[in-house]
């Protein structure tokens, strides 16, 4: 217990003694975390935006013009039984004509003397089925119904969306991993400089009989503290940036960044881990 307390105290004192080198490490970690933080929020909001677009996706099922009320009711019941379907809206031939009038400003009866628009069902899917495979499965089931005349949905749009969403996701994950690795390498190099400036402490500790763990622990605590300080600095910069963006620039950008306390908590944990792993890598060389 006494030794543990001594080592923790040494870790805190080490941070204080590290002076400019320590401050440099903190700044490096803070800059990396600011990049990671902004990157995360931008990627998250892009994915949310893509998901919103996806939620507007629907399938239009045109039914036989001569289908009777009973057939339509049966068909509606069949649709309701498909668990991937979230919402069904029936658009009668008259409603379609009214919609045509609203959209194109012309009366279909005055152009053709009759209403060629068939009745239809607009089908919205649950989020879990809003993908190409899910849509195609639902479409295949609907097609089996005799009352169905034609099914239309934007397959190309869905394919494009999926392709870009996957691309965004992979880019985000890769960027996160690469930025975190770069942060660890940068942090460990700057922590290495800190440790190099205090190599006499390590050699003296070795001479008086300190084990490698005894030497290592204060440097790990110091590294974690530098990571924590860097993360706090990054959290302040990000919070102030979002405050400024939301309160003064929202009119210009139309963008509102909202982050939870969990985001800042994650940033602090990530910063401490970067500092810890960085110092673990750095101290290894001096203990060989």
């Amino acid at each position: 217990m006494i030794v543990l307390w001594f080592l923790i105290k040494e870790g805190f004192r080490g941070l204080w003694r590290s002076n400019y080198a320590g401050a440099f490490s903190i700044i490096i970690i803070a800059l990396s975390l600011i990049l990671i933080g902004f990157g995360y929020v931008a990627a998250r909001d892009t994915l949310v935006m893509v998901e919103n677009i996806r939620s507007q996706f629907d399938i239009t099922v045109f039914v036989q013009r001569d289908a009777g009320i009973d057939e339509l009711e049966n068909f509606a019941r069949e649709l309701g039984a498909i668990k991937e379907i979230d919402k069904i809206i029936y658009v009668s031939a008259d409603s379609a004509a009214a919609q045509f009038r609203t959209e194109f400003g012309a009366d279909i009866f005055s152009i053709l003397d009759y209403n060629p628009l068939p009745p239809s069902f607009t089908v919205n899917l649950k989020p879990v089925a809003r993908n190409l495979a899910g849509v195609e499965e639902v479409v295949a089931r609907i097609k089996r119904q005799a009352v169905v005349d034609e099914i239309r949905y934007r397959k190309n749009f869905l394919q494009l969306l999926e392709k870009y969403q996957r691309l965004i996701f992979i880019t985000v994950v890769l960027a996160f991993v690469i930025l975190t690795l770069i942060s660890i390498i940068l942090a460990s190099n700057s922590i290495k400089m800190t440790i190099f400036s205090r190599r006499n402490v390590i050699s003296t500790m070795k001479l008086v009989g300190a084990t490698n763990n005894f030497i290592r622990v204060p440097f790990l605590i110091e590294g974690a503290l530098e990571g924590l300080a860097g993360a706090l600095l990054a959290a302040i910069v990000i919070a102030l940036s979002f405050y400024f963006l939301n309160n003064y620039l929202q009119g210009l950008t139309g963008f509102r960044a909202i982050v939870s306390y969990r985001f800042y908590g994650g940033l602090i944990v990530l910063g401490s881990l970067i500092g810890l792993i960085g110092s673990l890598r750095a101290i290894r060389r001096f203990l060989e």
Binding site: I2, V3, F6, R17, N200, V201, S203, T204, M205, K206, L207, V208, G209, A210, T211, N212, F214
Partner: protein, 219 residues
């Protein structure tokens, strides 16, 4: 207590030592003399296992250089006190902290650390400099801090590598008195020096002369 069995150890372009056979008993006072580069420091570094023999082995109590694992070396060093020409004190810690470090690494209790550190600092005449930093002390006082740090863990052997190299004659004489007193309390002392004037100051000291890595004379 310390035995060299046909030890050879060379490193880089320096000579190191060749075919050394040597035995040092508990409580002995030994001077290792020779010109610069003769192999004096190599002998001491082999004892605290900062270097390992290329041939032969060094045995210090139950630590055998041919069998010891890296993780066991700290435990050997807790039994061996070391003082150097450049003192090797930590400038950002005060006298108390420099001396106490030896005991913290050995997991002593705070009360015992405090008691031992104050005792040893009084013993070397630095009871009034406890909270000074090395930079605020004279060369002689810094060397006494180094002695206190070595002594506080009650080592079985004290190694001193050119301990008077940075000290004036009066302070050197004082240092030798300290080392003699330590030896009289039962600790073996091994001093590597090229300053032959120190030798007559210790009665019954053993003299080992090395030249180009070999022992050329023992008395």
């Amino acid at each position: 207590m310390i035995t060299f069995f046909n030890v050879s150890c060379t490193f880089g372009k320096e000579a190191g030592v060749k075919n050394i056979n040597l035995s040092i008993n508990e409580g002995e006072f030994v001077f290792v003399t020779g010109a610069s580069g003769a192999g004096k420091s190599t002998l001491l570094r082999l004892i605290y296992m900062d270097l390992f023999p290329e041939k032969g082995k060094v045995v210090i109590r139950n630590f055998d250089s041919s069998k010891v694992r890296p993780g066991e070396i700290p435990y050997l060093r807790r039994k061996v006190g070391m003082i150097f020409q450049d003192f090797q004190l930590l400038d950002d810690r005060n006298v108390y902290e420099n001396v106490a470090l030896s005991l913290y690494v050995s997991h002593y209790k705070t009360r015992e650390i405090r008691q031992r550190v104050y005792n040893v600092l009084n013993q070397v005449g630095l009871g009034h400099r406890v909270y000074y930093h090395p930079g605020e002390l004279s060369g002689g006082e810094q060397q006494r801090v180094a002695i206190a740090r070595a002594l506080v863990k009650e080592p079985v052997v004290l190694l001193a590598d050119e301990p008077t190299g940075n000290l004036d004659p009066r302070v050197s004489s004082d240092l030798m008195s300290q080392l003699t007193r330590i030896n009289q309390n039962g600790t073996a002392v091994i001093v590597a020096t090229h300053n032959y004037s120190l030798i007559p100051r210790v009665a019954n000291a053993r003299l080992i002369q090395v030249n180009e890595g070999e022992i050329v004379n023992q008395s």
